[in-house]
């Protein structure tokens, strides 16, 4: 269906190939009947995320050589509209940036040197990604060629990291099994996570060889709701409770009941003293756009319980405060575009496809929030204010 003779919008600037033009979409589950069916619908959201990521990569928004392996070659569409591509770009970049902040503090930045804590082969920080799905962040980090940020604050290539990290992903067994199968089949994924090995019947696996920068990678197959139980808690092999840790939920906890989501956060907060958190979730269910969003998602069988409780960006901040963090912050994706994204990057993205959907962008991007919190200013995990502003 591709039509190479047709110019892309703003093709004057040259853009990359597009895998197809179809705008149909397949693979959606109808409204859920029962919990099992809801679970499988929710697992299906990972495909949405993967397709959106690949679309943004192929059109030049994001750089991610790994995204392609997680979308099946016969997927109906691979190209999203500019507004969605921009959103995927902002969400991914903003989270990357928060992760970079965290790592700079403990792994590769100036402050990682402070206190003389540098030791080869000692893991100095931990990342836990909830509902990671087919997320490629670990692959990207473990093979990072570095990232230009701004003077003296660039992210160095992984070989230059002073310390290494422990990285955990958690998702349903079915999803982590699929991820393992994909990694096994794909040599460049195996380079990032060598010797992927099944550890448990629930699909949990780890990279048994050492990832390139000496870090450790674990992928756990479990239902997060099991972490909210009182007894008989699942084991999370390799989980460290003694090092600074960043907990990430990129559009995952929103699918849990609010109490379960709180309990999952509490599970980690109770065990890990130096815990920071980054959440990405929808907000504002009550305005006309939000109502339509809730009803459109319901038509696909998707329910987001936390959306009905944490309605405003401010509520997300309060949620983190209530969970025990002192310094909390929440930016809408719209604000993140303005504040997190470097001007050069804004201009680069503007030039990729153009954006005719300005009003729609404001609506859509105003309905997602990135919220984050860290223990306190003097516990070593500090977002550098200078670094969060754009230049």
């Amino acid at each position: 269906m591709a039509a190479p003779s047709i110019p892309n919008l703003l093709s004057l600037r040259g853009s990359r190939g597009i895998r197809g033009h179809g705008r149909g979409r397949g693979g959606h589950h109808g409204p859920g009947r029962g919990a099992a069916s809801h679970d499988s619908t929710i697992q299906g959201t990972d495909t949405d995320a993967a397709v959106s990521r690949l679309s943004a990569v192929e059109l030049g928004y994001l750089e991610d050589p790994f995204a392609q392996y997680f979308v099946s070659p016969d997927a109906q569409i691979t190209r999203r509209l500019p507004i969605i591509n921009r959103g995927t770009f902002v969400r991914t970049s903003a989270l990357d940036r928060l992760v970079d902040q965290f790592l700079r503090q403990h792994v590769f930045g100036e402050s990682a040197l402070a206190g003389g804590q540098i030791q080869e082969n000692v893991h100095n920080a931990q990342i836990i990604s909830l509902g990671a799905g087919t997320d490629t962040r670990a692959f990207r980090l473990f093979t990072s060629k570095g990232r230009k940020w701004n003077q003296g604050r660039d992210v160095p290539p992984y070989e230059l990291w002073r310390n290494s990290i422990v990285y955990h992903e958690i998702d349903f067994p079915r999803i982590v099994e699929k991820k393992l199968a994909t990694v096994r089949q794909t040599s460049s994924l195996k380079e990032a996570l060598p010797d992927p090995n099944l550890e448990q019947a629930d699909g949990s696996w780890k990279s048994c060889g050492r990832p390139p920068n000496g870090s450790e990678f674990w992928c756990h197959g479990l239902d997060l709701r099991d972490l909210s139980r009182e007894t008989d808690l699942p084991r999370l092999d390799g989980l460290r409770t003694d090092i600074p840790t960043l907990l990430i939920s990129e559009c995952c906890l929103c699918y849990l009941e609010t109490s379960e989501a709180s309990n999952v956060i509490k599970f980690f907060k109770d065990r890990i003293p130096q815990l920071g958190i980054v959440l990405y979730e929808p907000v504002k269910p009550d305005d006309p756009f939000g109502k339509q969003m809730v009803s459109n998602l319901a038509a696909r069988g998707i329910r987001m319980p936390t959306l009905e409780v944490y309605k405003e960006p401010k509520d997300q901040e309060d949620r983190l405060r209530a969970a025990g963090w002192e310094v909390c912050c929440a930016y809408t994706v719209e604000k993140a575009w303005e504040e997190f994204i470097l001007q050069d990057d804004q201009q680069r993205v503007d030039s990729l496809e153009g954006l005719d959907e300005v009003e729609e962008w404001k609506l859509l991007a105003g309905h997602y929030v990135i919220a984050w919190a860290h223990p306190s200013w003097d516990m070593g995990m500090r977002w550098d204010d200078n670094d969060m502003k754009y230049y």
């Binding site: 269906m1 039509a3 047709i6 110019p7 892309n8 919008l9 703003l10 093709s11 004057l12 033009h21 179809g22 705008r23 149909g24 979409r25 959606h28 959201t45 949405d48 995320a49 959106s52 999203r80 509209l81 500019p82 969605i84 959103g87 995927t88 969400r91 559009c251 929808p282 305005d287 006309p288 756009f289 939000g290 109502k291 339509q292 969003m293 459109n296 998602l297 038509a299 696909r300 998707i302 994706v333 503007d350 030039s351 496809e353 153009g354 954006l355 005719d356 300005v358 009003e359 729609e360 609506l363 859509l364 997602y368």
Partner: protein, 432 residues
């Protein structure tokens, strides 16, 4: 039944017509459009519509609310295609109606009526899907190149004719309404009588969401509802100075807005429009620009066209004997939005845009002036001004011509499975 009537019937049922027929239709349409100037003259009464974006079922709802063709005289301000699932059926139906009733249908070009944009935003893919080749898309794009860039509405009245047949005309005239908002069933939900200028305090109310948010109209009682505030989106300005029954100044209709390269309506007439929408220049600006709360001109976040402020609009209207600019191009949640002392209005006619935005849609009705004085306002730029007797001294020195009375009919998205037409379950993308 002529071919044309057959096509209309088939398209009204939301069924595409065969490729050979599309070709013929597009050919006929081009022959017609080639005769039109860049700026078409349209006489009131007229119903002005904004973006449609392939939302066929909602277009049917629009016709239900606004009246059918040819009973109602329509002016569509572009963006017929892209985004929705039925760009093809929507555009071809409008085109058929244009060819069938050339004097009752005016179509002007939107920024989406372009080869480049339609390859990104869906129309190209839709044609490919429905016909297996890009031929139909090509025929349509060739028509796009001939669409007019704007229209001038003459002879609009400064009073409204009744909203429905059941109301008495005289009663309506006596109310001397400047703005009325009706729901989809023709029931008046807000009425705003024309006020003398001195009563108007604030200049630019854009209450968003809340019907009580209006500022300029607060304190004026509304005969129909007793509601003390003006309609959402309305900037009813009380710009009156003339007496009831006088014709209002002309109305310029254009998809996007003004251009720093265009000072007069006549300058638009001189453009060479028969081409793909350029990336920059006057023609591009007319289709891409947006009004904004700035002074003068600003850069547009869309990457094409410009932002322009109240001063620009007022000066342009003054110079060109216009009382109002009607434009589309921007999603407004209430379906319409008046700005800058009601010197410009955005009309948006795609409800629940992209099956995602949750907005309502509107169309704008201008009544016919029956006083016979409309002749004075016939042209813009080359016939005497019709502001005689009005005091000068509007903000920044430009007198504003008395605006036409405006009726907005607000409507919601049609249920997807309505009227037995094929309906695809809407799937809107979100960030999941």
């Amino acid at each position: 039944m002529s071919d044309l009537d057959k096509w209309v019937a088939q398209l009204r049922a939301c069924r595409p017509i065969p490729e050979a027929d599309v070709r013929e239709l597009c050919h006929k349409a081009r022959e017609l459009l080639i005769e039109e100037g860049n700026v078409v003259t349209v006489n009131a009464p007229v119903t002005i519509c904004g973006d449609i974006h392939g939302q066929f079922h909602d277009l049917m709802e629009l016709f239900r609310v606004g009246g059918d063709v040819p009973d109602t005289n329509y002016l569509f301000m572009g963006d017929f295609v892209d985004r929705g699932f039925y760009s093809l059926e929507s555009f071809l139906l409008l085109l058929c109606l244009k060819v069938r009733y050339p004097d009752r249908m005016t179509l002007i070009r939107g920024n989406h009526e372009s080869r480049q944009i339609t390859t990104v935003y869906g129309f190209y893919d839709e044609c490919l899907r429905k016909y297996g080749s890009a031929n139909v898309w090509r025929y349509c794009c060739d028509v796009f190149d001939y669409l007019a860039l704007g229209a001038i509405v003459l002879g609009a009245s400064n009073t409204l004719s009744p909203a429905s047949e059941s109301s008495a005309a005289q009663e309506y005239a006596d109310m001397n309404l400047e703005v009325e908002v009706c729901n989809a069933d023709g029931v008046s939900t807000f009425q705003f009588p024309r006020q003398s200028r001195s009563l108007t305090s604030s200049s630019d109310p854009q209450p968003r969401g809340s019907p009580n948010g209006s500022s300029s109209t607060a304190g004026h009682s509304s005969p129909a509802t007793g509601n003390k505030t003006g309609p959402p989106g309305s900037g009813a300005s009380g710009s009156s100075g003339g007496s009831v029954g006088n014709p209002a100044g002309a109305v310029l209709c254009v998809h996007g807005g003004l251009s720093p390269l265009i000072q007069t309506v006549d300058a638009i007439r001189l453009l060479d429009r028969k081409q793909e929408v350029p990336h920059e220049g006057a023609m591009c600006d007319l289709l891409w620009s947006d009004p904004d709360d700035i002074d003068g001109w600003g850069l547009s976040p869309r990457g094409a066209g410009f932002l322009f402020g109240a001063d620009i609009v007022k000066e342009f209207n003054y110079k060109n004997d216009l009382s109002l600019i009607a434009r589309a191009h921007q999603l407004v949640m209430e379906g319409f939005k008046e700005m800058f002392d009601a010197s410009i209005v955005t009309v948006w006619s795609a409800p629940n845009y992209c099956y995602r935005c949750g907005n309502v849609a509107a169309l704008l009705e201008l009544s016919e002036d029956e006083s016979g004085l409309g002749v004075f306002a016939r042209s813009n730029g080359d016939v005497s001004r019709s502001d005689g007797g009005q005091e000068k001294g509007r903000p920044n020195g430009f007198d504003t011509l008395e605006g036409p009375a405006r009726r907005y009919r607000v409507f919601q998205a049609a249920p997807q499975d309505s009227r037995g037409m094929p309906a695809k379950k809407p799937v809107a993308d979100y960030f999941l």
